[in-house]
Symmetry: C2
Subunit: 215 residues, 2 copies
Amino acid sequence: MSKRTPLNRQLVLRAAVALADADGIGALSMRRLGNELGVEAMSLYNHVANKDDLLNGITDLILGEIELPSDAEWKDALRRHAISAHDVLVAHPWASSLALSPDRASQVSVQRADWMLGQLREAGFSADVTYHAYHALDSHILGFTLWQLGHGIVDQEHIADLAASFFRMYPPEQYPYLYEHAQQHLTGFGRGEKGAFELVLDLILDGLERERDSA
Amino acid sequence: MSKRTPLNRQLVLRAAVALADADGIGALSMRRLGNELGVEAMSLYNHVANKDDLLNGITDLILGEIELPSDAEWKDALRRHAISAHDVLVAHPWASSLALSPDRASQVSVQRADWMLGQLREAGFSADVTYHAYHALDSHILGFTLWQLGHGIVDQEHIADLAASFFRMYPPEQYPYLYEHAQQHLTGFGRGEKGAFELVLDLILDGLERERDSA
DNA sequence: AAGGTACAACGTACGCCGTAAGTTTGTCAA
DNA sequence: TTGACAAACTTACGGCGTACGTTGTACCTT
């Protein structure tokens, strides 16, 4: 008969990423992924150990896209890294939660952690300050992005409908401050200029620098 | 035969919380929950619309425990609120991810958002600053906690084994900074004093106050 | 006391899921 | 030509959420 298609780990992972990007992580099942590749579900197990391995694989693929600048001073390097991570994670909304999940001990995220810690230590931060600085920075990168994605800030169009139907249920007078906030979102407030992500990022970076220099 | 047990929404939700606390959110299935209550799975549908409704219900139950101080100045009120939220979420590690999930439009979290926004507006923050301040604060509360839980900072005992087996695979020389960081975790560094959560929280609160007063 | 009503339990069934185990088939080196 | 190996396929199991139909029972009305 006809030649068998090759199919390898990279192809499987890429197809999985495409599927997750297109239809959400919930739609990524072994059967569906096999279908997408013209193959039965069980055949995928020749290339990934199990579904967890698959999820680890696609997480690593995405995290690997994050910039780790090597030619910049610590503050600029970390800043660019954070923004790059934020961009990458927003582009693949399913990745943040996977990256945070405890069971996933990804190679790439280990490198990333070591890189961040190295930037701080080599910039003259003490071990003590570095300890908290790393927690502060990485939790902001992953945590903020996850929070943002969870609130559906991504697609501006649907927010309008969502807010409209919400305030039909709960009149503005009942939640006046939330109403004001929703209006700001609808008018596209805070776009273009520096968003909350970078705002807090700079709050953290500047705060850390002060702490380092005052010690 | 014998009398039927009463069973109502509150009982179902409480049992679900207990099950999730005990065996993790992954163990919370309708069948298993029914079993726990001495009832078939389908009987639960007399009290919750579907599993999503159940998850919404238990999320609200937990979020409802978070303190919303009404007798304090804005900074202290928000600070206490944040710490209370952090405590509650750490006590129920499954709740953070549910609270962040887009599909869940919980009544309680709406009240919480309006409360936070109200604290800021009534403290003299402009609508513009409040917009970003809210994002900064809430993303820190939920995002940091989720990050922390994801990294398994909760149970200190298991971390030792985890780190040991990790550095058997990857020798310390390969990831020197991460090794140092892991050692700090193992020696219980950063416990007792203010942790990274409050550190960043204060960074944000102080930064916001500066921004308000400089405008 | 008898009958009616409504609710909350039950059992069955369907189509998903991940994956263990066994079987077939295509390809290539000896 | 043959044998080995890898990568596909098939079958099957237990678990999931839940649609649907049935049955038992507590309580209200007459």
